[in-house]
Symmetry: C3
Subunit: 341 residues, 3 copies
């Protein structure tokens, strides 16, 4: 429970209306009730503010005076402000140091570190202060886990990998499995190339559930600071990802590709191997990138969905686009000839 | 081992031929031998019935008299009938209550519940009768697991999530990991928004191996009754899925999208966030949905595969389709002018 | 540490230059330093050889004499040669037999087998010599694991599945979960069809992190010898994959599809169910295969990525391609008529 004027004192912004109003939760406009602070991130939902049961609302400057009857906090970026309020009401659970009897730990453990039941931590692992290793998680020999990093249940960190501070590794994520590296014999059989690089992850990185990041073949796979990686993502060996890049679910990034800083990669996008993607590139959902991208900007390649019958009618022509272009060229020539005659 | 006439008495359908024939297994037409009951779901495989070694066959009404020499059960829907027979021969393993010595359980456990080695069940978890928690599975604080639900080895249920009755959660599935919610600062850094909603799953839901379902940001992520979700699927925060919808492997559904009842979503399809999909919508494999779908029907957007050389020839034109349309328009005008002159 | 002349004696190839030079590591050209052996697999990087700090280089015949100042090994296939050298320097860790106190093992275990903490191995499992079952891995009742196969931490093998010799199953992989098999009732509800087949995997197979392979419905799902499967892949029930086929990350293969030998399937490709893919087929990244492929060759269907504005301009026409073709046809007729008049 906090008064609006106290909140503004703490987090900034301009208070309009009754500062003695108390809030103790954040909620969406349509779900909010008594004691809830809501937010208007997109002006098109302005009408929802009126019907909302929220005790108060965070708004942008353009909506400052549109709402006359409700206390509000005016912020430069209402969504960012909401994020900070939400963090105020929901701080991360504090970590109670201690090793569960059913954990198997073979390294030294600072007293501030918690290791839960079923976790296995191998020899030579280096654990920072305040680390939390969840139930059944695995940390392989010689890995480093930075201070305050939380590894969720059933996540796996292979030997030798390095995680920075304040990271969150979600359940089922696998860090440092072998890259897909084979040389092919003449008879078609594959000879495995030992994958001896590491995965090196910066600070404040979040890695989603069941995401996989392969260790490097010879050099390392490197994830920069502040990178956010959603669920079900595959990152191949020797990929390098720049600071603050965010990657949505189901993306695949093939080996040795380098991605710049502050990129945003949409869900189910794919990037083939050995490419370079510049800083500040945005890739739309479902887009397969098969060439390097050297300039910032938004890049897209996906198909308009249609009713199936329309799709059958239209998309069959894709197989014959070249013939179609030939027909247009022929028409142009024939018309040219007639016009000149 | 059961006689055909007993089977018909139990499951319905019309028996044609010798009812004393015994069967004790179901098998495909080409693999079936003595004692096997097979089925003909698609009339185009009728010829296979003749060569099959099956002791008897389940057929539809149209194939009732096409086979004169073999006992058969005539059913409205042979595939559905086969499903019921298969369930008769292969009932789910019964659950033997008991908690393994190497499980770490911090809640009360009904005597009908089995918890296997390496499983971790936290405080405040509520377990229904007949629940089976597999080896190394994790159920977080305060989660509810409905009666007879089976959680396979290595599945993870985060704190506070709710599973209905008679569900199956396959190995490696992750229920309730954090949604991908961040607000962006001006410098590009991301501020994590605490994900405080739950995942609420109805009755008779099956969730495939390594599928991930994120918890809601503020409200819940909701999966209806009878929903079937295949492997490797990602379901974002605050998604809502209606009853009996089935989703094939590798699908991604982004945050806050609402999907109706009885939909069927093909493999590797994707649906971006904040959309509404009506009831009874079928989405073809590999189709990316980027707009809401308001009417039932089949929707498709995927590409015809070609030999690579043909593809190169044809698909290069996609980058210049607009120019192509301009050329057609120009041709039409020039021809118009000549025709009018 | 090995002398170049000893290496050539062991692995073949032609030594050019000082055979007494010693190497103890492999490295890429740009990272290599003293004591490192590097390789030139692609002649276009020839210039890098000059600037490299590598003590020696593996080259192909065409580059034999292009480098006058550095010891080199000339090999038919430099990349394959490099693979063998890398294996010489990085042999697989030897397995120290023994069962960890916190493992739950209910079958007999040869003394050469290692089972790590948190692993669960059920009754009736048959383990070959030298098997390594990683921390927290699960092997279900009656499964077979061939000699020298390594199961990484947190991998799951369901009951009854069969793994050949010398396989590697990476962390989080799930072998033998139920296939996605349901019959639909008239009211839309799904009746589960028991999945009673197995997964049968040949020798020398590698299966990537968090990959899932479903057990067969009635018959088995079969993976041939020497098949290499990357991370995050979904293989449906009753799929059959021929020897030495390699599948890159994020691929989905739907039920009952048969894939030939020595195929290569690019990342994020998909193959729908009940198809047949011939031997020696190469499928490009991101390609959805919706028809059987009967001839060897390279097959592709993906879209050229564009700047978003260009994409909007060009791809909108895809919805009207059929109308476009009609307009071209009309133009042809009108011109025909004029030319004949």
């Amino acid at each position: 429970m906090i008064r609006l004027d106290e909140l503004v004192q703490k987090l900034g912004g301009e208070l309009v209306g009754d500062g003695s109003v108390c809030v103790d939760r954040v909620a969406t406009l349509d779900q909010a009730g008594k004691g809830d602070l809501s937010f208007l991130a997109n002006p098109k939902y302005l009408s929802q503010v009126k019907s909302s049961g929220a005790a108060a609302v965070i708004v942008g400057k353009s909506a400052r005076d549109a709402l006359t009857d409700r206390p509000r906090i005016v912020a430069d970026d209402p969504y960012l402000y909401f994020a900070h309020v939400a963090r105020h009401f929901n701080p991360p659970a504090s970590v109670l140091g201690g090793v569960h009897l059913l954990a198997a730990v073979s390294c030294s453990v600072p007293s501030s570190v918690a290791i839960d039941a079923g976790a296995v931590v191998e020899e030579g692992v280096v654990l920072g202060e305040g680390v939390h290793i969840g139930a059944g998680a695995y940390v392989g020999r010689g890995a480093h886990v930075g201070a305050n990093t939380r590894i969720a249940p059933r996540a796996t960190v292979y030997a030798g990998c390095v995680l920075g501070q304040d990271c969150i590794i979600h359940a089922g994520a696998v860090i440092g499995s072998d890259g897909f590296g084979f040389a092919r014999q003449r008879d078609g059989a594959w000879v495995k190339i030992p994958q001896v690089g590491r995965v090196v992850i910066g600070n404040d990185v979040e890695i989603g559930a069941n995401t996989t990041i392969d260790r490097g073949a010879l050099d390392d796979t490197v994830i920069g600071n502040g990178v956010k990686i959603d669920n079900q993502i595959q990152i191949g060996h020797n990929v390098r990802i720049g600071d603050f890049t965010a990657i949505a679910g189901c993306v695949g990034i093939a080996g040795s590709t380098r991605i710049g800083a502050r990129c945003m990669i949409g869900g189910q996008a794919g990037i083939i191997g050995h490419l370079t993607i510049a800083d500040d590139v945005v890739i739309s959902a479902g887009t397969l990138v098969t060439k390097s991208i050297r300039q910032p900007g938004v890049y897209t390649a996906n198909l308009p969905v249609q009713g199936h019958a329309d799709w059958v009618k239209n998309f069959a022509h894709l197989r014959h686009l070249d013939t179609l272009v030939d027909r247009i060229r022929a028409l142009e020539q024939r018309l040219e000839e007639r016009e000149q005659s």
